[in-house]
């Protein structure tokens, strides 16, 4: 597994190709890309800045991936999360999970994203017409992460 925190953009096609080259047994690749939207909570967003907790961020995402590997049959997982200043339509986060079968790949990929949203120490500050503001956490994200406790 690999976790990369970086200011640079990423290339999903190249990352999937690299994960696949490592293992001819892969039958399923589930992936997710998060993108900066131009509106949040009703306000236009011109740009945002992502802050993180160096060290803990990587550790917490590695821990999330380890949990996913304990629950589903997964060959490998990659998480790339960008930091610094991003603008609408910029890519923020990439998760790729490879597996033999699609059910495991989908479940692990969504689990990693849901837990990342509530556990990994990143914070967004947005620039809007009414000034800069720190993004508030969402109850829906807590609910999304929490539902995995009930599933098998």
């Amino acid at each position: 597994m690999a976790v990369r925190i970086q200011t640079e953009d990423f290339d999903i096609g190249a990352e999937i190709a690299q994960l696949r080259r490592a293992n001819p047994k892969i039958g399923a690749v589930a992936s997710f890309v998060g993108v900066v939207r131009d509106v949040n909570d009703g306000d236009a967003v011109a740009e945002m800045t992502l802050e993180h907790y160096p060290g803990m961020t990587e550790r917490s995402i590695e821990d999330i991936i380890t949990q996913a590997r304990g629950r589903w049959k997964v060959f490998d997982a990659l998480v790339i999360h960008r930091i610094g200043t991003l603008r609408p339509t910029d890519q923020i986060v990439l998760v790729i999970v490879t597996s033999s079968h699609r059910g495991d790949a989908f479940a692990a990929c969504e689990f990693i994203m849901d837990y990342l949203k509530t556990r990994a120490p990143f914070w967004k500050k947005e620039s809007t017409p009414s000034g800069a503001r720190w993004v508030e956490s969402r109850a829906t994200d807590d609910i999304a992460a929490e539902r995995w406790r009930l599933k098998g």
């Binding site: 998060g34 992502l50 802050e51 993180h52 907790y53 060290g55 803990m56 550790r59 917490s60 999360h81 923020i92 986060v93 994203m113 990342l116 949203k117 509530t118 556990r119 990994a120 120490p121 990143f122 914070w123 967004k124 500050k125 720190w134 993004v135 508030e136 956490s137 969402r138």
Partner: protein, 84 residues
């Protein structure tokens, strides 16, 4: 000594991202450390007194109020996370 880190809104409101604190004998856990910082008043009281959502980590693991704090630890306070 312990290292205390502040992130995001806390870092801005407190005007610092990191400090070294000589741990008083009376402070044994996160709640004790938080009370020590709140006693500074001003933004420290506003941000850390408990009416705002607050998260903490001890040595880079998420932790809650009763978590022990000892010499050499790295403690962090921050708002709920909003990445992804």
């Amino acid at each position: 000594m312990i290292t205390v880190l502040y992130f995001a809104r806390l870092r801005e409101e407190l005007g610092t991202g990191s400090e070294q604190i000589a741990l008083p004998q009376s402070v044994r856990d996160l709640d004790g450390l938080r009370a020590l910082l709140v006693a500074r008043g001003g933004a420290w009281a506003t941000e850390l007194a408990g009416n705002k959502a607050l998260r903490a980590a001890v040595n880079q693991n998420m932790a809650s109020g009763g978590a022990p704090v000892a010499d050499g630890d790295e403690i962090a306070f921050f708002p709920p996370v909003t990445g992804g």
